[in-house]
């Protein structure tokens, strides 16, 4: 593989030089999906014909023209069902496209299919799905992570060149880490969430999976910017995400909390320490910092996320859309039976607890308290960013676990990823090596709307390493 050419570059080159049409590229990926998806279970539905999606296919000037993209199955599309991997929305087809889908189609990108997730994006394993678990392409016995595990596994297995996911507490970065690819959660307010089925509205952000930082930048450039349908979005300069690619790294001040090494295995500690040496050799200045209390942060995150989830999911009542219990005698029974049968166990647990946190007796002890702690965490990061330009921290402190392990009891494992959701800052997870043939990544975060810095750092590091080029063993014919 040519190191200087990214996946999007190679697709564009084939189209520009007349070796393939956008339909050829789409069909090639469909062949790959048919071959590898049965083992991985990354997709919930596959698009049969790219002509249905590409209404704007006369614009070959766009860098995304002809590039097939997979979408997490909680992003609304007119052409394919949007199920959230839930019985509640098993047959739901949205009457509108999410803004990100419209933006991609305007660029000439094609929608490959929808990818698996934990029901309503609630989980970190992609096992809580009506479609069954997604498997990690690096080891089919291992978890792909979640909740955007389908998108991560699809990109890792080269059955999608790039994919979108959603990140409420690490749901893009954590599966990217386990699957050995790049996962970027951009700043809150950069990418419209109109058409993303909401989980925690103050935390949710659409993110991107890719094998190359440049590819992530190109996709983010296409889907970001002001959207009147999402008042949290901001107008951004053209090529906001890609403009800083290739800037020199010398002089960048990168914060690192040495305590984060303590809860890693010794070989992983060595991997991280070696990576820090590499960063220093690129002229990056590593400065010791102290992160806020991570256990407090993750509890704060869950109280807020559960409260917002309970509110957002109250709309699934059997009346407006989605599953409806047909045999109810009155409206109360309709609500109760629809929600009891429509939601899975994990979602019901989160709704019940969220309503508990919001109840008048508990509101000030839990929800309001969490909002105040969130302010303190936010202020802590503002102080840290007075001393450093970005922060290096683990994404997760271990490699992918076996599918038979039940990790759901251990909420505190999200301690490194929830920070960027609480602050609204951008964060990217990128691979740095492999341990026992399973990938391991690190995470970079920076202050809000400083996203290009992160992608540039990862891009430059890609020039001096080959970790992002490694392909899972199950992939025996890596076209494109």
């Amino acid at each position: 593989m040519n190191k200087s050419m990214t996946v999007i570059d190679r697709i564009r080159q084939k189209i520009d030089q007349g070796y393939a049409t956008s339909r050829d590229i789409f069909e090639l990926y469909r062949i790959k999906i048919n071959r590898y998806n049965p083992q991985i279970n990354a997709y919930t539905s596959i698009n049969e014909d790219c002509s249905f999606t590409n209404e704007y296919n006369n614009k070959p000037v766009s860098k995304l023209y002809g590039v097939p993209i997979a979408l997490k199955d909680n992003i609304c599309t007119k052409i394919l069902p949007t199920t959230c991997a839930s019985s509640m929305l098993r047959d739901y087809k949205s009457p509108f496209n999410a803004t990100v889908v419209t933006s991609l189609e305007r660029c000439g990108a094609t929608i490959l299919g929808k990818t698996n997730l934990d029901e309503f994006a609630m989980g970190s394993t992609t096992t809580h799905s009506i479609f069954g678990a997604t498997r990690n392409p690096w080891s089919l016995r291992c978890l792909a992570g979640g909740s955007s595990g389908g998108s991560a596994a699809a990109v890792a297995a080269r059955i999608a060149p790039v994919a979108l996911g959603s990140d409420t507490g690490g749901s893009v970065r954590q599966p990217a880490h386990f699957c050995g690819i790049l996962g970027m959660k951009p700043s809150y307010g950069t990418v419209s969430r109109f058409g993303l089925i909401a989980y925690g509205s103050s935390l949710d952000q659409i993110g991107v999976f890719s094998n190359f930082a440049y590819d992530a930048a190109i996709v983010l450039d296409a889907i970001s910017g002001l959207d009147p349908l999402d008042p949290s979005t901001r107008k951004l300069p053209n090529n906001f995400f890609s403009h800083a690619i290739n800037n020199p790294l010398r002089g960048i001040r990168m914060g690192f909390d040495p305590k984060t090494l303590y809860d890693m295995s010794s070989p992983l500690q060595t991997l991280v320490e070696n990576h820090i040496v590499k960063l220093k050799s690129e002229g990056i200045q590593i400065i010791n910092i102290s992160l806020p209390n991570l256990q407090d942060a993750v509890r704060t995150y869950y109280v807020l996320a559960l409260g917002e989830a309970a509110t957002n999911l109250s709309r699934f009542d059997g009346i407006r859309f989605g599953y409806k219990y047909e045999y109810s005698k009155n409206i109360e029974e309709l609500y109760l039976k629809t929600r009891t049968y429509g939601f899975g166990e994990e979602v019901k647990k989160r709704i019940l607890l969220g309503n508990y946190m919001l109840s008048s007796e508990q509101y000030s002890s839990f929800y309001l308290k969490a909002q105040k702690i969130r302010r303190q965490i936010y202020n802590s990061f503002l102080s840290i960013y007075e001393k450093v330009d970005c922060i290096l921290l683990p994404t997760v402190n271990y490699t992918a676990e076996s599918l038979s392990n039940d990790l759901e009891g251990d909420l505190l494992e999200d301690k490194y990823t929830v920070l960027a959701n609480l602050t609204g800052d951008p964060a990217v997870s990128f691979p740095i090596g492999h341990m026992s043939s399973l990938p391991f990544g690190l995470q970079l975060t920076t202050k809000r709307f400083n996203d290009p810095l992160l992608l540039n750092i990862v891009h430059i590091l890609e020039q001096y390493g080959d970790c992002h080029l490694k392909v899972p063993k199950i992939i025996v014919d890596e076209y494109i």
Partner: protein
């Protein structure tokens, strides 16, 4: 903190979810993990953080609004408003109604 039968019944009622065949144990386990949040100390005058979008207003138009607007008009409880709608309500400091 142990959820009583009365608590569970109340939660089931307001959530419109039956607890029949539901693992209350898992619910209780998660609550136990989150409970220690109650004992974290915060300064009394700490302002709640609503959402990052709300911070955009805090640091731009809203501060201008504070300077230009009589205090009684700032008494509205913006914390209880959905963050999606906050910008529409207070983002325009030139609004004559304010």
């Amino acid at each position: 903190m142990i959820l009583s039968d009365k608590d569970l019944k109340h939660l089931s009622d307001i959530s419109k979810i039956s607890l029949q065949d539901f693992s209350v144990h898992n619910l209780q386990t998660m609550l136990n993990i989150l409970e220690s949040l109650k004992y974290i100390e915060v300064l009394a005058d700490t302002e709640p953080f609503i959402s990052p979008a709300h911070e955009d207003i805090e640091y731009s138009s809203f501060h201008q609004l504070r300077e230009d607007t009589p205090m009684n008009l700032l008494d509205m409880d913006i914390q209880k408003l959905d963050s999606f709608y906050v910008p529409k309500i207070i983002v325009d400091p030139m609004d004559k109604d304010l």
